[in-house]
Symmetry: C2
Subunit: 327 residues, 2 copies
Amino acid sequence: MPARSRRSRRLDVPAELAAAREGSHRAVARLVSVVSDGGPQLREVVAALADGSGDQAWVVGVTGSPGVGKSTTVAALVTALREEGARVGVLAVDPSSPFSGGALLGDRVRMGVHALDPGVYVRSMASRGHLGGLAAATPQAVRVLEAAGVDVVVVETVGVGQSEVEVAGLADTTVVLLAPGMGDGVQAAKAGILEVADVLCVNKADRDGADATVRELRQSVALGADGRAPGDWRPSVVRSVAAGGDVAELVDAVRAHQRWAREHDAVVPRRLRRAAAEVSAIALARLRRTFGQPGEGGLLDDVAGEVAAGRLDAFTAADRLVAEVEG
Amino acid sequence: MPARSRRSRRLDVPAELAAAREGSHRAVARLVSVVSDGGPQLREVVAALADGSGDQAWVVGVTGSPGVGKSTTVAALVTALREEGARVGVLAVDPSSPFSGGALLGDRVRMGVHALDPGVYVRSMASRGHLGGLAAATPQAVRVLEAAGVDVVVVETVGVGQSEVEVAGLADTTVVLLAPGMGDGVQAAKAGILEVADVLCVNKADRDGADATVRELRQSVALGADGRAPGDWRPSVVRSVAAGGDVAELVDAVRAHQRWAREHDAVVPRRLRRAAAEVSAIALARLRRTFGQPGEGGLLDDVAGEVAAGRLDAFTAADRLVAEVEG
């Protein structure tokens, strides 16, 4: 009998969703795979998830440069949330990469003890081929976890680049991790992270230079404070030693921001932004299809060739693409 | 007499371009500001730059996490290129941030001795408000520098996030910088940088752990080698101590990749990709205007509200945006 590939198997979406609602980890995994990887059933899954309940879980985005201890911090954060009795989902968002599809750093390895805890769902998101990329896939995966009854979703993004900051910035609470010496004020400002952070957390706070980093961050927040309106949330600056399990200040800061956001009607605007990013990403991906991707031999390649040769300027070339889309 | 703001002054574009061709640093600065910041004369400048000459300068992209020594390495690279007699442009690409508009880290501070060298042009790019973002602004700034007779343009991007990797990956030669201990193989793979790198450079190579990092990177390259076709370029892994001015291996590696690309017809495809990214970004930004940005009260906000409330799924919402654009 021929082996049936996991990839090509067609899901019974209502049955999978019912199983996810009963807490099935396998059903959650399969549904997250569809929204992460795309494929023929993506639209069906997304439609099934829009069930009138709206968002329920609190989404905590965690971002920071490689080496600051993001995975360790997320694991310690999950432990602390579990001790509070919360059901927790973790979405590890990797750039679309042939190397990052879970082969090098599997979900189980990443989360250690949590892999066997029925109250913790851990999934990697690679967004290869998803129509709309991570801006669309992440809210959809959050909805899968909400269906499974998760109270808190931790979205861990790799790196501090703009697109990942954007994904993390769509969370209800955005945590930016730094390490002593790596994340001084100027570097943090350069990376554009101060504006999106609700909580700035200096991890490895038992190392030399942690005090200086905390001080510089507090100064940077104070310096940038005039950019925020008087009633706005001011990012808190806290410390953690995640490798030693010490994330108490971080948990308190996340909970403090959550209370503040609920009391100040700050939740709905951010969820609207998240939905807008999702819908906009899908619509733009579809519009892009009209003129093709680079290398497909479509209209885009034709006009790009003219631009590269200096025979056409980029705006006139873009006019042609827009005219094609608008029919 | 009222002070005239620099920002609102209208440029005589043909005169500015003629001055840039004569080597005027001020004209180059003004033209780069237009393509970086956008504004009413953006289209006029871009049209004037499309003069039939095509690309001339070799574009070297340099990226890596905060703290690896990017600015120091770029400065040392510029010194080495100047010693070869090349005219050099540097574009420092920062995320769009109110903090990063040159106030914290001015062009002069950044480049030290090069600030007074007439053969070196250094500009920061913040891409605030540019139609099409950095994917569009960077090739346009490269054209300004080419008009000024620059032979090599070094594009320095902050961070290792996906969008910045993409900008760096559009260079003719893409250099990814790492530091000992920070950039081990798994982290590099996680950040998705191995695929875009033509040269992997371990900076601060006089520090402990440099040998291990070089070894791990070479193993990662070897591991990933099956993803590349037999005739493809294999990323070289080199060392530098930029703070001590030692970037000889890096310069050799860049020149080796340049020779390889020219001999293997690899230059044109990459320039086509760069032009395609530029034109596509402009066209998509214009299409996006039809349904509005989040918070503008346009159609996007309407459908996002339905999605956030669980009354509409994201794909059906996107259908409405696409229908609006297609008229």
